[in-house]
Homo-oligomer: 247 residues x 4
Amino acid sequence: MTKGERTMDRIRVLVWNENVEERRKPEILKHYPDGIHGALASVFGDEHDMVVSAATMDQAECGLTEEVLDQTDVVVWWSHHRFEDVPQDIVDRVKERVLAGMGLIVLHSAHFARVFQQLMGTSCNLKWRNVGESERLWVVSPSHPIVKGIGDYIDLPHEEMYGEPFDIPAPDELVFISWFKGGEVFRSGCCYVRGKGRIFYFRPGHETYPTYLNAKIQQVLRNAARWAASAVSGERRFGQQDPLEPL
Amino acid sequence: MTKGERTMDRIRVLVWNENVEERRKPEILKHYPDGIHGALASVFGDEHDMVVSAATMDQAECGLTEEVLDQTDVVVWWSHHRFEDVPQDIVDRVKERVLAGMGLIVLHSAHFARVFQQLMGTSCNLKWRNVGESERLWVVSPSHPIVKGIGDYIDLPHEEMYGEPFDIPAPDELVFISWFKGGEVFRSGCCYVRGKGRIFYFRPGHETYPTYLNAKIQQVLRNAARWAASAVSGERRFGQQDPLEPL
Amino acid sequence: MTKGERTMDRIRVLVWNENVEERRKPEILKHYPDGIHGALASVFGDEHDMVVSAATMDQAECGLTEEVLDQTDVVVWWSHHRFEDVPQDIVDRVKERVLAGMGLIVLHSAHFARVFQQLMGTSCNLKWRNVGESERLWVVSPSHPIVKGIGDYIDLPHEEMYGEPFDIPAPDELVFISWFKGGEVFRSGCCYVRGKGRIFYFRPGHETYPTYLNAKIQQVLRNAARWAASAVSGERRFGQQDPLEPL
Amino acid sequence: MTKGERTMDRIRVLVWNENVEERRKPEILKHYPDGIHGALASVFGDEHDMVVSAATMDQAECGLTEEVLDQTDVVVWWSHHRFEDVPQDIVDRVKERVLAGMGLIVLHSAHFARVFQQLMGTSCNLKWRNVGESERLWVVSPSHPIVKGIGDYIDLPHEEMYGEPFDIPAPDELVFISWFKGGEVFRSGCCYVRGKGRIFYFRPGHETYPTYLNAKIQQVLRNAARWAASAVSGERRFGQQDPLEPL
């Protein structure tokens, strides 16, 4: 789980966690004894094509220094309450990296993360209810690489509900739609390209349920990291240009 | 409900019905005494900006003669079992009209109508179950003209279930997602532009339930007719061209 | 050209202009004697279904007070150099109105307007060259209401060139693609829905050419105002919800 | 260039050529001595992760037997004049394979190939002119895997012109836009998902110009084969279903 040197064939995943809920709700540690970031890191840590590290908001520069981001291909972002505590210059830094080609996987309540809102341009608001009802995530794009190995759906016995309208731009690709016992639906897996970066919003993961221990959820996260890491990098050329043809 | 002369400000809606289920299942006539086409026609018949007529498969050329289509801006299509009884030349005729700008609203089991399949290019297959469970159609594009006046959702106490995957191209605009009591979701309101024509697939309407008597469903149908009729018409120019610039 | 009372059938268009170039380049006044905002306002002023007003950056609150926006259905935005002089709270105010359903037409160099960048989430950067070469805008969505009456293309004898890559999200609908004499192409007419608002980016309009006097360009602007004004308004309901079904 | 056994890490590319133009226009053989299919096959033949074979219309079942397709991951399709000579049952066979996950790369004049038209649902008509003018294909999705290694654009000194409107569904992803010396533009690289299959339409390749010898064009073709082969395979489950929840 230490940050590796860049190798040609390994995707460098950085798990980022607000790391606040763990102190407010100690029951989280029952299923995630190493915190949400620890649980998420272990999803990627054993993959032959990935190296994983973790950062939390309480670190210097929220753990998102230029040096850390230089060694990152995909950020997996979890946050819930202290959105405004990530300074705008750190938000800008991560956003610029995404536009330049870094992948970003935005989880659950991080729909309100500033970096996600500012990449989407919308409020990312939604309906919600946390009573532990069941959720079923249906695959609606069955040939998409993110759903490899998932089958028709994923069942989660207990989750927070998120409901429509979800104030996001229409996804470039819609991969999952959730059904909730209490009567709502939600666009739960949404792919975007912004600049050169690939962004995946994935709904599940309320902190008081052991969602990230579910094998299919883990498979989606790994698939999503591979998808997000496969954008073609390289500079884009902007600005003033000479004509290519006689005028 | 007679077919009107074309006037500048009236949309000419043609309701088309296979008109087979009515004979197989007489209980349909309890809620739709004039047949499904009669019920659908009455949805549009009182609108100041619409004139409506109806055609059924048992008529000459399935009721879809060139003359009828010359007087049609939007076709509302309901069918269920005898998809293969519409001859291919009639399917081609309707399809060509859609590509040239005529609107098409495809209802419920008409996902398997040949003209819809051939406009989509996919099988349009899906999961289904008919046990009369409840359906709730959630609005996911709240500013779309098709959902004007609908609010957050439409509740239907009894409907057939359709489930994902729905083998369609990703909709150009996704307007409704259905929740079903039995645990499934479905992309229930799907907008497409094909050629110059606007196509709206709208899921509800199993023949044994009085779905088309529901006021919100009727509102969606009228909204959809107005949306589908608003494509810009006029010839497109194809074929060999002289250069516009010196070579 | 005074701001009218809201009537049911009139679209209230607000033309907004930075109003800086007019002083830096007096030759602009040869073709736009009333400034760019004056020229744009006259595009809408004679329409039976529109009322138009104008605002400029040098007014109090940049001319974009809450009271002005309360009386506005569509903003037409032109700016070029002083993007950073619109305070962030004014940018936020306009952005919130768009997300709530107000239309926004973004012209030419306003691709760098903060409100557009922040609604898109990307840099909106591009290639450019200003040598007065010819531009031809090709219609690629011939049934879209924005191209009503335009035909196959619009020819502009002299314009600034903008070239790809244009760092925008993939448009929800792509309506125009420009050809430039010097060898470039550009996605010149791009439709977006963000929140409940409709946004149209339209490329032409460098201040030193009389582009907004071109009859087809004027037709596109009027079509775009009608398109942008036709989003369905009304509140969206977010936040905590009771279940709709027994749990 | 013989058809290989399926191995885990090799993409089985099948080049399909009408093989008619070669006899009508012997000058083609100057740049493509082994025919268009020979030239295309050599694009893929040396790749470590691909095996390639070729089939032509003059073979039994147009070279597209079930056995051949069983050994095919991606078909690269070139045709020009004898579209109607591929029997409908062969068209259906290839189309069904695409919907089940096989990749399809459609080249140049094959925009009129029946299998492409029937997957798109539109006429696929366009403007054209063959005077050997220059074409420049601009990259508009710079992070898409299909443009890996291409840079800003591809220059082709002599090509046939294709112009808008191109009667296709709006592409799921638009990758290239062409500029033509004579004044037109064209959506030249268009990605679609239909069923589980990935389809890429790529414009260049008129038979009388040596387009497929261009290194960048070859790179796009190889990138496209890898992209098209990466859809997730496996059965989709349709039809009647038991409820997943109590009713």
